[in-house]
Symmetry: C2
Subunit: 452 residues, 2 copies
């Protein structure tokens, strides 16, 4: 019976490997590594501090090098490549799919990549150039060139004999691609039809001709939602004239979806999606410093706003005690709206037709929650400081700030998208700036008006 | 030539549909809907305010109802089901895969679900019960029961004849599953091998027996990473004894990955992943109120801490002006560490073997950035307020708060995971509480010591 896998397996791989490394039994480590798939080895390498990573990388079977390099993130890959000899690198790239090679080749040192290209035959070189001519995050950049094509006018019987002659077909092939003699895409012939339909029928009779090909310039995110909506395993890619260029397989689409999600989460903290948990301290500090610097500017802006009310604060110090509440509640409410809108944009569910509706709804939610929590906060403040006027002031400031937070959370991502900035990256900073500034001005301004 | 799809197509579906709705040409709307796949109709319905949604839902072809219900999120589904008659609902569930039916049936009113179950034959009912007996987010809950099995001792020729007799095979079938007469899983026979290998060979000779089956109790996230690492299209699911129960297909795994990512992003703002952008204002307000309430508690805690230093603030109002900077910078730095650790946990890349290393690295990054930005802040503050002592105080408080932010960002998710709370949900609130409290105590405390 086959080995069964549970949730623990991966963590214990890491644990076992670390223990074996520490006890110095490298032979055991090597044996363990060889039972794993390249993607799992890549995952382990990403989970290790640099010194361990180097030792383990040396122990990986040379013939897995290419696949492992492919699966680690850009930053870890750069580190691994740095320690490899030219001939090792050339050997590692042999046997990779063209789309995978295209992903890696840009990260290789110039000497290596030109040697790799020179070692290829002309057909392979042309294919590689075809993939490289499209952006990495487009259908063309994602596509494989390992299509198996058939003509429409032959019978299934001929196709079946051809398949048996061929001897093997590329992984993740669920359909053969039907083309005419100019390589124009006509339709798909699923392997399952080939197996179940009458063998005397022609390909044209059996093929599925209503399946649309993907245009090579389509963005990767569009490809992903197409695969998701249509439950595809693979799909043909064509150029503007309808000529078949290659195919996209679901494994690459899964990577796109994972990367996209990762990117959203990481950018909201100002981190790059590829951040290596074990990157050198100096490099990480430098990258994160930028984000801290941007946030510092907004913090100084908030301080400057508070400074405008120094005279008021000097006389009513209670305002200083309470002011973070107003700013923070506005930020929280605003970030709920912001998150919803950023997701709506990513899923392409927000357009001109519904934007107004969504804005009014968000403002209504903010108004209701503003009323509710301003009552609570006012109650607590009146009890705490025995001052009804401050209670009224904080209630009013809260409502104002929740409304402005909701409006900013709605408007910022739409504006950023229009000017081509990623809302996940810049949205939160801009939102907090607004809710801090509006919060402090509303609360301290009302305080100056009614308490002095 | 087949129609080509670009990024714009979906948004313009929404736009076109809205315009057709507004001009009242319902026939046109119906025609447009019928050219779309159920998942795309579901996507459109999710992008519409309730009134439009109801109108469009009425126009959807009845035979697509089941598939559309399957693809909309839980909240939208509940709304659509509410308006349907029992017989419509029973009709909608016909023809759904068992795993899909299992997803929907729990959302149906009791009358409907028992009628659905009664209308099934015994075999289907037993299958449904099998799927329902596993949690929705486990391999058992994800599995389909539409496996095509073959025995190991027959020749490929026999299998080929069986396939042609069968006439069709379930979608997303890339392999037949090889079992013995007790239904014990033995291996996989890829369709591609069936097509390319010698037809006189036996299944046992050709099958891939080194592919592990998935245990029905494996969590969905584990299934997802297995599919990702091994580039699977479908995988067999077995019980503890190795008996074949069903199979998981990559389309369901893609949904798991998407939901997981969505859940992480949404929970960090205290929103549920299933949130409907067009949900009624009252319902949304109530859900979000909880999150605002939790955050209000932490804001009051911060205010209380500030209140402890009221006497100091009264005498040195500059401290009130600057205190948000210390709190905010600690929060930003901490959330970078928090995000990295939450991701590391989700990817199962953090374990006992590397946790210490990561913590020291995060503290080192925080120390470096603390030094850098405390110098900058101190410089600005000295220039602004002409007060060297306050410059020193804010520099020291910043370093303290960045370090405590990094430590909290590291420790909170690991602690939360140990007690079984989702770090993505509770992590940020807890972190901000700590960076606010530590920030205010450090800054105002040092201020009280050195300025009074």
């Amino acid at each position: 019976m086959s080995e069964q896998i549970d949730k623990q397996s991966k963590r214990s791989h890491l644990q076992n490997l670390t223990e074996a490394l520490q006890s110095g039994t490298l032979l055991k480590v090597r044996l363990m590594l060889n039972t794993l798939h390249p993607a799992e080895i890549a995952h382990l390498l990403e989970s290790m501090p640099p010194e361990q990573r180097e030792v383990v990388w040396e122990l990986v079977d040379r013939e897995n090098d290419g696949e492992v390099l492919l699966h680690v993130n850009d930053e870890v890959r750069a580190g691994l490549i740095r320690d490899m000899e030219t001939d090792e690198l050339v050997a590692a790239t042999e046997g990779l799919d063209t789309d995978d090679l295209a992903d890696i080749i840009q990260d290789l040192p110039g000497v290596v990549s030109s040697e790799v290209v020179q070692s290829m035959d002309k057909q392979h070189r042309l294919r590689l150039e075809a993939v490289l001519s499209y952006p990495e995050d487009s259908a063309g950049g994602l596509m494989n060139l390992d299509t198996v094509t058939v003509r429409a006018d032959v019978t299934l019987d001929v196709v079946l004999r051809y398949m048996r002659l061929r001897g093997e077909i590329p992984e993740l092939t669920d359909s053969l691609i039907v083309v005419d003699r100019f390589d124009t895409y006509l339709g798909l012939l699923p392997l399952s039809s080939l197996l179940t339909q009458d063998a005397t029928a022609t390909v044209a009779e059996v093929m599925e001709s209503d399946i649309e090909a993907i245009w090579a310039n389509m963005p990767a995110t569009g490809v992903a939602s197409l695969f998701e909506h249509r439950d595809l395993i693979s799909a043909p890619v064509v150029d503007e004239t309808g000529k078949l260029l290659g195919r996209i397989t679901v494994d690459d689409v899964v990577d796109v979806i994972r990367d996209e999600a990762d990117h959203t989460v990481m950018s909201r903290a100002g981190l790059s999606g590829e951040e290596d948990m074990f990157a050198p301290v100096i490099a990480s500090s430098r990258r994160r410093a930028v984000w801290l610097g941007v946030n510092l500017l907004t913090a100084f802006l908030a301080s400057w706003v508070i400074g405008l009310f120094e005279a008021t604060l000097e006389r009513v110090v209670t305002l200083a005690v309470l002011m973070p509440i107003v700013a923070s509640m506005g930020g929280i409410a605003g970030s709920q709206t912001l998150t919803l809108i950023i997701r709506g944009i990513a899923l392409e569910q927000i357009g001109e037709s519904n934007a107004r509706w969504i804005m009014l709804r968000e403002l209504a939610v903010a108004a209701l929650n503003g009323l509710l929590w301003s009552l609570v906060v006012a109650g607590v403040v009146v009890l705490w400081f025995q001052d009804v006027v401050i209670g009224f002031i904080i209630a009013a400031a809260l409502i104002i700030n929740l409304l402005s937070g909701a409006f900013a959370g709605f408007a910022i991502p739409l504006l950023l998208r229009r000017v081509g900035i990623d809302p996940a990256l810049a949205g939160t900073v801009m939102l907090t700036t607004i809710t801090d500034v509006v919060g402090f001005i509303a609360f301290l301004g009302l305080g100056s008006l009614f308490l002095l």
